[in-house]
């Protein structure tokens, strides 16, 4: 399958500062990739290059088989900028009609698009009166125009409440199922964890990790944490059985071990029988994996 987006050894400099260092990645149709990184890691720069808004210094970029920013690429790519803004004097419907006309689509679809993002009731109001979440929905509605092949979304769920976020990811799932490739950045790791196919971690302009969450988890080989709750009266015997454990505030024991030793440890705990009241196994979270990969040299 031909990739919708391909970057190979992409390099971008701002003066002496290297914002992107030989970044290579590819995104296939129907795949949803999350771009993670600290502020200043190069996420927005990468997106702006893909959109053709800023030039790059080295490497190659192919967007839907064309150069970024070329008329053919722009016709197939939709973008939702971080903190999307519109002219406050226009109504939601007027703004969408304008965007539809710019994409050569019929302006009559405006109300249907606003309906899909739950804004039909506010269509006749000026955008100047909208809340941040409502503006974000207008931004989202304009990305749905004309079945784009690539969606570039910069912090798309900022300003949305939890229910709207779920609706938003449902919309993305629908688009991905129709073959749209999606590149999004987010700071909310829990939603990225559940709703994307692969994760790309940028740190200091370099792509330090790329893959599915499971693959990254295996590569990071972070320890698994355990919480063991002793049965009443068995606190001391349990603590003696696990001298390496730390004791929590309510008397439970905290243990951790490498992935490979997880099952033997569970077996050890289970062997204690009714000395143990309960057991929680806590796999490394995406936050842990993210910090592991985005840690800069020397830190």
């Amino acid at each position: 399958m031909t990739a919708t987006l391909t970057l190979s050894r992409l390099t971008k400099r701002f003066g002496d500062m290297e914002a992107l260092k030989a970044v290579s990645l590819s995104l296939e149709p129907g795949k949803r990739a999350a771009l993670l990184g600290h502020n200043g890691a190069g996420k927005s720069t990468l997106m702006k290059i893909v959109l053709g808004l800023i030039p790059f210094d080295g490497g190659e970029v192919s967007v839907c088989g064309a150069a970024p920013g070329s008329p053919s690429a722009r016709a197939q790519v939709a973008y939702l900028p971080e903190n999307v803004a519109f002219h406050p004097a226009l109504t939601g419907e007027e703004q969408l009609r304008h965007y539809l006309a710019l994409r050569g689509e019929s302006p009559r679809q405006a109300m249907e698009l606003l309906g899909r993002v739950g804004l039909a009731h506010a269509a006749q109001r000026r955008i100047g009166t909208y809340s941040k979440g409502m503006r974000q929905r207008v931004g989202l509605a304009q990305t749905l125009i004309g079945r784009p092949r690539l969606l570039v979304l910069d912090e798309p769920t900022s300003g949305l409440d939890p229910v709207s976020r779920r609706d938003f990811y449902d919309l993305l799932d629908g688009l991905a199922a129709e073959g749209t490739a999606i590149l999004l950045s987010s700071h909310v790791l829990t939603e990225v964890e559940a709703r994307t196919d692969s994760i790309l971690i940028l740190s200091g302009g370099q792509l330090v990790a790329e893959g599915t969450l499971a693959a990254l988890r295996a590569r990071a080989a972070l320890p698994v944490a355990f919480s063991v709750f002793p049965a009443p009266g068995h606190e001391a015997s349990l603590a003696a059985a696990f001298p390496e454990a730390a004791t929590g505030a309510d008397g439970h024991l905290r243990l951790s071990c490498p992935q490979a030793e997880k099952l033997p440890l569970i077996a050890r705990i289970a062997a204690l029988g009714d000395h143990v009241a309960d057991l929680d196994v806590i796999p490394p979270s995406l936050e842990d994996i993210y910090s592991h990969f985005s840690r800069r040299d020397g830190q």
Binding site: K48, L51, G52, L53, I54, P71, R74, A75, V77, A78, Y79, L80, P81, N83, V84, A85, F86, H87, A89, L90, E94, H98, Y99, A101, L102, R103, G104, R126, G139, Q142
Partner: protein
Amino acid sequence: MSRILATAISEFRIAFRNRWVSIATGMMVLFALVLAAAGSAPTGDVGVDRLSVTVASLTSLAVYLVPLLALLMSFDAVAGEVERGTLPLLLTYPVSRLQILLGKLLAHLAILALAVTLGYGAAALVAVWSDPAAVQGLGSLWRLIWTSVLLGATFLGAGCALSALARRPSGAAGLAMALWLVAVVLYDRALLALIVTDGGGAFTTRALPVALLANPADAFRVFNLSAAEAVAAAGGIGGAAGAIPLWQSAASLFPWPLAAIGLAVAAFRKVTP
């Protein structure tokens, strides 16, 4: 073309909401009516119909007001998009920067055309109402309208260019006012001072016509006054208009809008969102 039109419709709507349409029209009508009332005195003295005299007064008004309105409408064109943060998204759409700029210019030009037509029209109505023979002057009124639109297009283009160069609305507004002051006000004052010191010498006979044609505002004034043969009714710099052939001032009016728009597109292309 449809993208230019869509941009123009959206811009016109914004200008309408921001009251630019009513401000521009109201200003032109008000000033034109004041001039029409004040301009009744010289009739008979110069032996032309009343409307032609009104047109001569309107020309002196338009030379200040049309560039001012054009610059006020256009200084925000690019800088405003940059400040609101709407430019990056717009530039990812399959629409060229030339199309965006032409759409904006088209909307602003339509507003300007509406304002001058209604303003001059009001003055013409007053003239014809008080002197039915004034209908003879309709030709010069029509000439004033289309040359005003050309003059407006020049300064709209210049305003867009300054907007793209400044990238901030406050800076663009300052540059626009400076351009208006230099091109429309100070340029004439400087020429007048030179004529006085020259005392009918080489400057007045050779350099002055070129200097007048080199400024779109002066070319506009010279063309309208000499075409209406109302030179005598206009004082100051306009008095020099008789020395310049009509085709030369007309030829100077047309390239200016194109040059200004070309400059605006070139400046806009340099803007990185």
